[in-house]
C-alpha cells in the first residue's frame, strides 16, 4: 500500500469515527467503498435540537471535507439527502458544479438543513447523506444517479465550457477592460433579473375554487434548437398554473431522450418572469412528434394577472448522451438573457470578480 493510500485509509477511518460519535447520530454519511470520492472529515458546527410545540426542530449544520481519490479531475458532485422518517414524500440533494479538483485534492461541501419532526420517531439516523454522482472532466460519471444528477451536471459542465469560451474570447478581442465590462454587465443582469415567488405542489392539490381557464403558449424559436414547439397550453386558476401540455417535434437527425422548456409568464403591465421549467423524459426519433405534460402545480406567491405565456427549449439531451444548449448570441437576440438565470459557472466567475477583482478572474480563465 502506498503512503498516499495509507493516509487516505487513515483519513477515512478518522472520518468514520467522527461520523458515528453520539452527537452526530442524527446524520449518517454513506459512500460506496469503491467511491472515487472519500470523506476526510466532517465539521458539525452548531448542530442543535429545539422543542417546538408538539414537535422537535433539528438544525444540522455540517461541512464535509471530501477527497478526490480517483484518477481524473472532478467537475461536479451531487449528494443525496434523505429524511424518509420525517418527509416520506420528498428528498433533497446538494450539488456542487463548476469544480476543478485534481486527483488527491480535497474540497468542502456544506449541508445546512432543518427538520421539523414529531417527538416520536423510530430510532436511527434522521438524515442519510449518500453519493448520487461525480462528474469528471472527460464527462465520465460515477454513481447510482438516482436523481438524474449525471444529466444536470453534464449540462452545467457544457454551459460552463460555453461561458468560459465566451469570456475568454471577450478578453482576447477587447482586452481586460472589455472583460471587466462584460462581467459587470453579467452582475447587473443577475441583480436586475425579475423574480417570482413560486410554490410547487404535486398534481391534485389544486387549491382554488373553479376550473380556471386554459391559456395558450406563444413559443420563441431559437434557430438551432433540435426540438420545435408546435402548440401548448396550461390551466390558470387564481394564482396557480398547472396541467401544462405541449406538442413537440424532433427536427434534428438524432433521437432525443430528454428536453426542458423554459416557462415565462407575462402580467398585465407587460412584465415578464421566468415561472419555471417543464422537463420531459421522452423518446423522440428524428422527425417524430410527441406530447408532454407536467405533473405539478405552480402557485405564485403574489397576485399576478397573467396575460400571456411564452416558452422556449432550454436544454436537449440526445439518446447518445450528448447535449444541446442555447448559444449566448441566440439568447441575447431574443432578450432571454435578462430572464434566464446565469449558468453556475457564470455565477462563480462573476462572484470571483466581485470578491477578488479582475486579475483573479483573468487568472482563473487562463487555468482552463
Amino acid at each position: 500500500m502506498s503512503t498516499s493510500s495509507k493516509l487516505a485509509a487513515l483519513g477515512a477511518s478518522l472520518a468514520a469515527l467522527a461520523l458515528t460519535s453520539p452527537a452526530q447520530q442524527t446524520l449518517r454519511v454513506d459512500f460506496p467503498p469503491e467511491s472515487p470520492v472519500t470523506v476526510v472529515a466532517a465539521d458539525w458546527g452548531a448542530t442543535e435540537t429545539t422543542p417546538r410545540g408538539g414537535a422537535l426542530v433539528v438544525d444540522l449544520r455540517t461541512t464535509l471535507r471530501l477527497r478526490n481519490s480517483g484518477p481524473a479531475t472532478i467537475r461536479g458532485i451531487t449528494l443525496l439527502v434523505l429524511a424518509q422518517e420525517v418527509t416520506p414524500g420528498g428528498k433533497a440533494s446538494v450539488a456542487v458544479p463548476s469544480l476543478n479538483v485534481a486527483p488527491g485534492e480535497t474540497f468542502p461541501v456544506r449541508i445546512d438543513l432543518r427538520l421539523l419532526r414529531p417527538l416520536q420517531v423510530p430510532a436511527g439516523p434522521l438524515v442519510r447523506v449518500e453519493l448520487d454522482g461525480v462528474l469528471f472532466d472527460d464527462l465520465s460519471f460515477y454513481g447510482p444517479d438516482r436523481l438524474n444528477s449525471r444529466r444536470s451536471m453534464t449540462a452545467w459542465e457544457i454551459e460552463a465550457r460555453r461561458d468560459r469560451r465566451h469570456f475568454k474570447s471577450v478578453l482576447a478581442a477587447r482586452g481586460p477592460q472589455g472583460l471587466q465590462e462584460e462581467i459587470l454587465a453579467s452582475l447587473a443582469r443577475q441583480a436586475e433579473r425579475p423574480t417570482l415567488d413560486v410554490q410547487v405542489a404535486r398534481r391534485g392539490r389544486a387549491t382554488n375554487l373553479g376550473a380556471g381557464r386554459r391559456l395558450q403558449f406563444a413559443f420563441l424559436r431559437l434557430p438551432d434548437s433540435p426540438i420545435e414547439l408546435l402548440a401548448g397550453a396550461a390551466r390558470l386558476a387564481g394564482q396557480e398554473a398547472s396541467d401544462a401540455t405541449v406538442e413537440v417535434r424532433n427536427r434534428s437527425s438524432r433521437a432525443v431522450r430528454y428536453f426542458e422548456i423554459a416557462w415565462i409568464v407575462q402580467d398585465r403591465l407587460g412584465r415578464e418572469f421566468l415561472a419555471g421549467s417543464v422537463p420531459a423524459e421522452t423518446h423522440l426519433s428524428p422527425g417524430a412528434t410527441g406530447r408532454i405534460s407536467s405533473d405539478a402545480t405552480l402557485r405564485f406567491g403574489r397576485p399576478l394577472a397573467i396575460e400571456a405565456m411564452k416558452g422556449f427549449v432550454s436544454r436537449v439531451e440526445f439518446e447518445d448522451g450528448e447535449f444541446w444548449i442555447p448559444s449566448r448570441p441566440h439568447l441575447a437576440e431574443q432578450r432571454l438573457d435578462r430572464l434566464l438565470a446565469p449558468s453556475p459557472e457564470e455565477q462563480r466567475l462573476a462572484d470571483l470578480y466581485r470578491r477578488k477583482g479582475l486579475q483573479a478572474l483573468i487568472e482563473e480563465l487562463n487555468r482552463f
Binding site: 433533497a92 456542487v96 463548476s98 421539523l116 455565477q347
Partner: protein, 185 residues
C-alpha cells in the same frame, strides 16, 4: 423612504391587507430589505404559531367541555330572566326608514365581506415546496425539511413543473457554487 407601519407589515405577512394597501405595501417591501426582513420574521412567527396551535393538550375531554359550556349558557339565561322584568318601550320605525337602514346595512356588510381574505379550499393536504428567504422548504403533514442557503446572495431560485425546486448560490464559506434541490414526490 417612508416605511409601512409595523401593523401593516404584520397584516401583509398574513395576507390580510385590503387590495390597495397590500399593493402599496408589497411595492415598498420589494425594494426595502429592512421591511422584507420584518415580513419574513412575521411569516416565520405565524408558521411557528400554526405549528404550536396544531398540538392540542393531552387528555382533552370534549364531552365534558361541551357539558360545561351548556351549563354556563343555561345559567346565564336563568340569570337574565331574574333581572329582565322591566322591558324597554318599543320604538316603531316607518317603512321608509327601515328600508334605508336595511340598504345601508347591506352596503356595509357587503363591503366588509369583500375585504375579507377568503380562504381557499384545500383539496388535499399533500406535500408542498416553497422557497423562503432562508432556503427551500418541503412541508408535509407531519414534518418539514428545509435546505438553507444562509446568508448567500444572490440566490437563483428555480421551480420545475415535475415537482422540484432549486436554489443556486455561491457559498460564502466555501466560495463554491452550490445547488440545493428539494423534490416532492
Amino acid at each position: 423612504m417612508k416605511h409601512p407601519d409595523i401593523a401593516s407589515l404584520a397584516l401583509l405577512a398574513g395576507g390580510e391587507l385590503p387590495f390597495w394597501t397590500r399593493w402599496r405595501a408589497e411595492r415598498h417591501v420589494r425594494t426595502c430589505p429592512e421591511c422584507q426582513k420584518e415580513v419574513e420574521a412575521f411569516r416565520r412567527r405565524r408558521d411557528w404559531f400554526r405549528d404550536a396551535a396544531g398540538e392540542l393538550p393531552a387528555g382533552l375531554n370534549w364531552s365534558r367541555l361541551e357539558a360545561e359550556m351548556r351549563a354556563n349558557i343555561q345559567l346565564g339565561l336563568e340569570a337574565g330572566e331574574c333581572v329582565g322584568a322591566a322591558r324597554p318601550r318599543r320604538i316603531r320605525l316607518s317603512w321608509r326608514v327601515a328600508a334605508a337602514l336595511a340598504s345601508i346595512a347591506v352596503v356595509i356588510v357587503g363591503g366588509w365581506w369583500l375585504h375579507l381574505p377568503h380562504p381557499r379550499t384545500e383539496a388535499r393536504g399533500g406535500a408542498v415546496l416553497e422557497a423562503t428567504a432562508e432556503g427551500i422548504e418541503l412541508k408535509e403533514p407531519h414534518g418539514a425539511l428545509t435546505l438553507f442557503h444562509s446568508a448567500a446572495t444572490p440566490v437563483v431560485v428555480s421551480a420545475s413543473a415535475q415537482g422540484a425546486m432549486a436554489a443556486r448560490f455561491v457559498d460564502e464559506e466555501t466560495g463554491l457554487v452550490t445547488v440545493n434541490n428539494v423534490y416532492v414526490e
